[in-house]
Amino acid sequence: MNSFEFVRPATVAEAVAAASAPGAAYHAAGTNLLDLMKGGVARPTRLVDVNRLPGLDRIEHAPDGGVRVGALVRNADLAHDPAFSRRFPAVAEALLSGASAQLRNAATVGGNLLQRTRCAYFYDLASACNKREPGAGCDARGGENRLHAVLGWSGSCIATHPSDFCVPLAALGATVEIESKAGRRDVPLLDFHRLPGAAPERETVLEPGDLVVAVRLPAEAARFAAHARYLKVRERTSYAFAVVSAAAALRMEAGRIAEARIALGGVALKPWRAHDAEAALAGAQPDAASFRRAAEAALTGAEPSGGNAFKIELARRIVARALAMAAGGTPERVPALPASPFAPAPGASVHV
């Protein structure tokens, strides 16, 4: 068998030390990593099991309304935390729209941030992939790429980041807490994932040994709670990755949009924050024309990376719809089909 070392450190400091060695990888739920190892895509020589590290499995609500979520909190536990889902409903909806109940029960917050792309050429050892093997080339280009990136891609990689969770986190200005040999540092989620450029093998800003210990959402992110949605279009009703998704959050004042937050999923190698679209909505009426204008702005610079031009207009429509849904108000409960176009719409029809 392919032998690897399995270490179970007792403290974060021990974990960081153990994972600083070349070939080491952190192991939490393993919902992605173990598949990659079975397929030979990832071949770590040492697994550093973080599951028993103390203090990483807590959801800490700050008095000011912010929250700190430990990296080991399971996706399902976070989504079902009443205080969390009340303040950050779009995040809860995104979490519940991902994967399956079994996977959500196991998968962790930290692991969700670090999940790898679903690009088939990355998983297929017989294909060239710059991400897997720097300099090898990219067989996704010119291949089966109808679900690949339309924003931020490069000639060396057209993959997308598959996370749902990260999309509202990006919209709401989350911060990632990282423990390293040099101590603890904060990185905005928007800066955490890297676009491919010429080095798609570098997926995040993490250095060897760096451990994600928590994700924080600021108090001001909770001010969007009344108008925050996640919308995810997929090729079956559940248990599918997004073709395109969007998180939309609005702060309404006197019937106008005081502030908007928009991010897209499934379009780029990182969760894609649409600052220009947000700016276009500041002070705007919450109507279809405003939302379409914002949607146009959100996809500025989008280009097909292959047979996926349809995703650009689809993404615009999804942004506009997510904004309309957010304007309509956050529902009392997360719908039974979270983030689905088939979830019953609260109040008036959003389909025109």
Partner: protein, 752 residues
């Protein structure tokens, strides 16, 4: 023989006839407790693990391996390549029969499709064998792959499917089209699909001298046994196959395939039992698939909407080294009345594994195309799709002129439409919305599947204690054979179900025939029924000839077997228990034998098909094109229903498969390499529960006095047909967009 401890007395077992009762699965407790032993659960002492190394190229030659690295890996016992592979007596590239498909068992260094086995690593552990296979790092001389329906020159096959003529003509299609008031010509494409049974193909093989013992999931133990015997040059009797449970087969476990043979060869090579289980992605090559099709359908009707002609010319694909031609066009032969009918097939040879029978082979892709075309034709005639189908109702089989042995399709249409509420359907598309503004569409399709039979055998024994034993080597793929066949067995012997032991799933039992073509219950069931009747006849002979029996002299009046007693037919009060009859005769047991097979005279006189009508509702997001099938009602008539609960399950499973066909399922093949890029269950989409929220199957009564003595038609495949087209037609009705390329993807619907 049978070590399967089934539930013998379900709580709701009723007194009297077992056939027709909705018993739950007798193997259910074993399955929900994990006690049911599937092939790969068997670990005989000393067993080694074998893992395939498979080709990453579609076409070429293996130049070499890093044998030293693989063999040097701790735990690796042996690496089997063409160099040291034990010899075979039979040629794996031979074609002794149409059902002997060519297979890749390391007979040379050629690569003819991706995922082709090129070596086998045998080790003490699965992990060591897996790593050993990775270390082999085969080197190839690759040649360009031939991919897609335009990837090679087409050829005209001699036969399609299981031996049908490749083309059929009835009447003059061209003049029918010329005379038509309404005409349609449209081309429909269906993708390559893979069976994807939940249980991967697996074998545990153990040799003892020249006798062979194997555990493997099989839909056809007798054919498998015969093929192994031919390949290895040993007598079939020396080969024991245990296959009590299959985690799905769908046709991919019907005939012996290469990986099974490699498991047997590996055991031969190392002289120890070996287990070989395919990884999911390895199921996308050597164990069959459904080939893609491109069907060009031409139709014409007169002014009143009656067909003047139907033609379907289908293009499909097979491998470069063997022929399996998906008989997609043939479904038109028996469905709609038409004075002129023309079907034909051609095919291209691609660098894929050989396609194979896959649940409703031919009928499934043929039906979605034909039912879509019929819907388009109805639209062209300005007619309701149901009214159009009734207008063209076939009173006799259009391709042959034969009457149907039975056909309750009108009742299926009526009951399905009533239950669905079809009469409220607006004729024009894009007229319905739900309260949230989603587009709503209603579509329908006709289901049809031939009522086939293979040859099967059974043995029934009445024992001195008044209980019975019934044996047949049947195959339970999950459809409920353990239960339905036992119900037939109980009635055949005139015993309650809890007084018979039903033995099955083992090659030493009488050959029950292939579990395919939706023919298993009819074939094995008739064999069982006949075997029971044979035993009862012998028992009756003992009683009616014995002066001491109350039944003495009843020979002319006859006797009825019921609840463990024989009753005089004309005087129910005169009866005698089985045990008493046997005891007086001094017999420990009495044996009956029976065979089930199609009756050639009936087949010549009648067309035999099961029928159904499926009604579908879909909702479509108008801007995103995401589709959800929200409601399905299917009404099916398939002769006698042995177990309504299980038959309904078969229909529901088939209907879900139809949804999958229309909306989800496809192998995504890289056009450059021929490699399937979504060879896993995360990306090869089949419906999840949320995709089919409401599902109803109606059992329509149908008595068929001709199809076989039990009046049974098959139910395993029919519900795919009709459903896939109904869903596609509902998508049109919702959106006004005709999708002729399946599965229907959202980009086809969003108008960008």
């Amino acid at each position: 023989m049978s070590d399967i401890a089934l539930t013998s007395a379900p709580a709701h077992l009723r007194h009297g006839s077992s056939i027709g009762q909705p018993l739950t699965r007798r193997d259910g407790p074993l399955k929900v407790t994990g006690e049911a032993r599937y092939a790969a659960d068997n670990h005989p002492p000393g067993m080694l693990f074998a893992v395939l190394a498979v080709s990453t190229v579609a076409r070429g030659r293996v130049l070499g391996f890093d044998l030293a690295a693989a063999k040097g890996h701790p735990g690796v016992v042996e690496v089997m390549t063409p160099v040291n592979r034990p010899p075979l007596a039979g040629d794996p590239d031979g074609k002794e029969s149409p059902f002997a498909f060519r297979m890749d068992v390391l007979q040379n260094d050629r690569v003819r499709y991706p995922q082709q086995p090129v070596a086998v690593v045998i080790a003490e552990t699965l992990e060591a064998a897996t790593e050993g296979a990775a270390l082999l790092a085969p080197r190839y001389e690759a040649e360009p792959a031939r991919v897609g329906l335009d990837g090679a020159e087409p050829f005209a096959p001699k036969v399609v499917g299981a031996g049908n003529p490749a083309s059929a003509r009835h009447g003059d299609v061209e003049s029918g089209l010329r005379a038509a008031s309404h005409r349609l010509e449209a081309t429909y494409e269906t993708p390559a699909q893979y069976h994807n049974a939940m249980e991967p193909h697996a074998i545990v093989a153990a040799w003892d001298g020249d006798t062979l013992s194997i555990d493997t999931p099989s839909q056809g133990m007798a054919l498998t046994q015969a093929r192994i015997a031919g390949l290895f040059g040993i007598p079939p009797a020396g080969i024991t196959i245990r296959s009590p449970f299959l985690g799905g087969g769908f046709g991919s476990k019907g005939l012996l395939n290469g990986p099974q043979v490699l498991g047997i060869l590996a055991a031969r090579l190392v002289g120890r039992p070996v287990k070989l289980v395919l990884r999911r992605e390895q199921m996308y090559g050597p164990v069959g698939h459904r080939a893609p099709t491109r069907q060009t359908i031409r139709m014409g009707t007169d002014a009143g909407g009656a067909f003047t002609a139907i033609a379907n010319q289908a293009r499909t694909a097979t491998s470069t080294f063997d022929d399996f031609i998906e008989p997609a066009a043939d479904v038109a032969h028996a469905l709609y009345a038409t004075p002129a009918l023309l079907t034909g097939h051609d095919a291209v040879r691609l660098d894929t594994g050989t396609p194979m029978f896959m649940r409703a082979p031919g009928e499934a892709p043929g039906s979605i195309a034909l039912e879509s075309a019929v819907d388009e034709m109805a639209e062209a005639c300005g007619m309701d799709p149901l009214a159009f189908r009734l207008k063209n109702y076939a009173e006799v089989e259009p391709s042959s002129g034969r009457p149907f042995s039975s056909k309750a399709l009108r009742e299926c249409y009526a009951q399905g439409a009533e239950r669905f509420g079809w009469s409220r359907r607006p004729l024009a598309p894009r007229r319905m919305r739900d309260e949230a503004g989603l587009l709503v569409g209603w579509g329908m399709g006709t289901a049809i599947f031939p009522a086939l039979m293979f040859a099967g055998h059974a043995r029934a024994v009445l024992k001195a204690d008044g209980t019975g034993v019934v044996e047949t080597g049947a195959h339970d793929m999950g459809q409920g054979a353990w239960t339905a066949l036992a119900q037939i067995a109980a009635d055949g012997l005139g015993l309650p179900l809890d007084r018979i032991e039903f033995r099955s799933g083992h090659s030493a039992l009488p050959d029950a025939g292939l579990a395919g073509g939706s023919a298993h219950t009819a074939t094995a069931g008739v064999a069982i029924d006949r075997a029971g009747a044979d035993a009862i006849a012998k028992l009756a002979g003992l009683a009616t000839r014995d002066r001491r029996s109350p039944l003495f002299g009843a020979g002319n009046a006859g006797v009825v077997a019921r609840d463990g007693r024989l009753h005089r037919r004309d005087d129910e009060a005169r009866s005698e228990g089985y045990a008493d009859i046997l005891a007086r005769a001094g017999l420990g047991e009495i044996e009956g034998r029976g065979t089930g097979a199609a009756d050639p005279a009936a087949q010549a006189a009648f067309a035999m098909h099961a029928h159904g009508a499926v009604f579908a509702e879909v909702k479509v997001d108008p801007e995103f094109g995401q589709v959800r099938c929200t409601r399905l009602v299917g009404a099916f008539a398939a002769g006698r229903v042995v177990n309504p609960r299980m038959v309904r399950s078969q229909y529901k499973g088939g209907m879900v498969w139809g949804v999958s066909f229309a909306l989800h399922e496809q192998a995504v093949t890289d056009g450059r390499t021929g490699r399937v890029m979504n060879a896993n269950l995360a990306e090869y989409h089949v419906p999840v529960n949320a995709d089919v929220p409401s599902l109803e199957a109606i059992l329509v009564h149908e008595h068929d006095p001709h199809v076989n003595p039990l009046g049974i038609k098959g139910v395993g495949e029919i519900a795919i047909t009709g459903t896939a087209g109904a869903v596609a037609n509902a998508v049109w009705h919702a959106t006004g967009v005709r999708c002729r390329h399946f599965p229907i993807g959202l980009e086809q619907l969003i108008g960008v």
